[in-house]
Symmetry: C2
Subunit: 271 residues, 2 copies
């Protein structure tokens, strides 16, 4: 049986070379599809491209306009291939209009010295945290099992925009790069936490850096990841968010799978 | 007298619509020009474009190949203009090859609720910190007055890759968006600090979010900014860096001018 995530990121390569995707009702959001599934679809296009070199290192995606329900198109061009990395330019179109822009860097992982300076947030074991029951009208959230540790969407008005949670796909699904990309966009808008209410807000631009190797993803499997995100500054209708996605094996060191940042638009409820 | 920074980011619009820039010897780096001046030049192209809407909100630039000394070309296209923001696609070319890709979001600042959650790093007053005398062969660094507080380039091998410093252009120059963009790329490679030595390393991709309004930049003027940056994870030939640039007025609240992140390639000295 195909997982709903795989249905949602599925592609059709047209005879004209154009790559066709389609919004999936299971991942719809308030306005247009959940951005994480759009970004995952883009990553999937590149990762399955015949000319791809290595694995994803960085993806920046700019949401230029909402994607309407239905088919949309993805254009990816490998504009430069070096010895160890490859640069891609991404354009998303619908009805002849540009709805998204982006760039990606793919590349080879080479064995080098390494060290993780960031530290994972404090978290009780997965089994000790309740899953949150999102309202049905946020369709995409039904495909994630979210166990909020700090800053849940029901936390009320907070002075600190940090959310920390255990999260995984539901039904569970082995972690891969598209799923990891999508996870980096699952943090609900930080501005909700600061005001204790939902309000108009949407990601304008997201950048995710992939630290995980394929072996680390395979070792992670279907476990929950530990995610954390916070805003740095809210001002003049925008804020930025910095986040991390960790693998927390029972019998080993934490692994920083991805770090992510995004710029978000919000509308002041008082204005 | 024209400031050397303005000489370096100067543009010529060709009759064919192509925008021509040229590397400036004062901003050369080990291999090709200092990335900050390249990014500042790109920002300058968009900011001075007749169709621009508002001010910079986000710039992602991917350094696909070193730019050789001499002329290079910039192509910027405003692919989508919304009511309050505008999406740009950026391509850098030299000798018919793509040497850089990128995207930018410009937009309007709207008065809204705001709050800065990030806090500036501890720093003694500017007058109490010595300026660092960089070796002449790092040409670009001669155009910045850097006063290292933590993690200077002469700090030796450290367990923590954090650098905090006071920095401004020298000769001094009123802060504007291109200068702020460049400042976000002035942190020397974090991997130097971890190994206590220079080693091959270079930015692959940088993303900077601009929080500052034109009024805040004007209020900042020619003062030093407080910069801080650290890596999150070094692994398999790459690391990521997160950084912030602050304005620290004597008589007011700190202002987070920009937050920045980058993905960096490094070569293991032991390999």
């Amino acid at each position: 049986m195909t997982h709903v995530f795989d249905e949602a990121i599925a592609l059709q390569r047209g005879d004209d070379g154009v790559i066709h995707a389609s919004t999936h009702p299971a991942y719809s959001n308030m306005v247009g599809p959940f951005g994480g599934i759009t970004a995952a679809t883009v990553l999937n296009v590149i990762a399955t491209h015949p000319d791809v070199l290595g694995e994803p290192l960085a993806l920046t995606l700019n949401y230029a306009a909402p994607i309407a329900d239905g088919p949309w198109e993805i254009d990816v061009v490998p504009v430069r291939t070096n010895r160890s990395n490859q640069h891609w330019v991404v354009t998303l179109r619908q009805n002849d209009g540009t709805v998204g822009t982006g760039t990606a860097v793919f590349g080879l992982h080479r064995g080098t010295w390494g060290d993780t300076e960031a530290t994972p947030p404090q978290a009780p074991p997965v089994a000790e945290v309740d899953s949150f029951d999102f309202p049905d009208f946020i369709a995409w959230s039904q495909n994630y099992d979210m166990k909020f540790i700090v800053g849940g969407i029901d936390a009320g008005k907070q002075d600190d925009s940090t959310t920390t949670l255990w999260i995984r796909d539901t039904p569970d699904r082995p972690l891969d790069y598209p799923a990891l990309m999508s996870l980096t966009d699952t943090f609900f808008p930080r501005v909700f936490l600061r005001h204790g209410t939902m309000m108009p807000a949407g990601t304008i631009s997201i950048t995710t850096y992939f630290h995980a190797t394929p072996d680390q993803l395979a070792a992670h499997g279907t476990a929950y990841v530990l995610g954390t995100a916070a805003a740095n500054s809210f001002a003049n209708g925008h804020y930025d968010q910095s986040g991390q996605i960790w693998s927390m094996p029972d019998d080993g060191e934490p692994v920083l799978l991805a770090s992510t940042t995004q710029l978000v638009y919000f509308k002041d409820p008082q204005a």
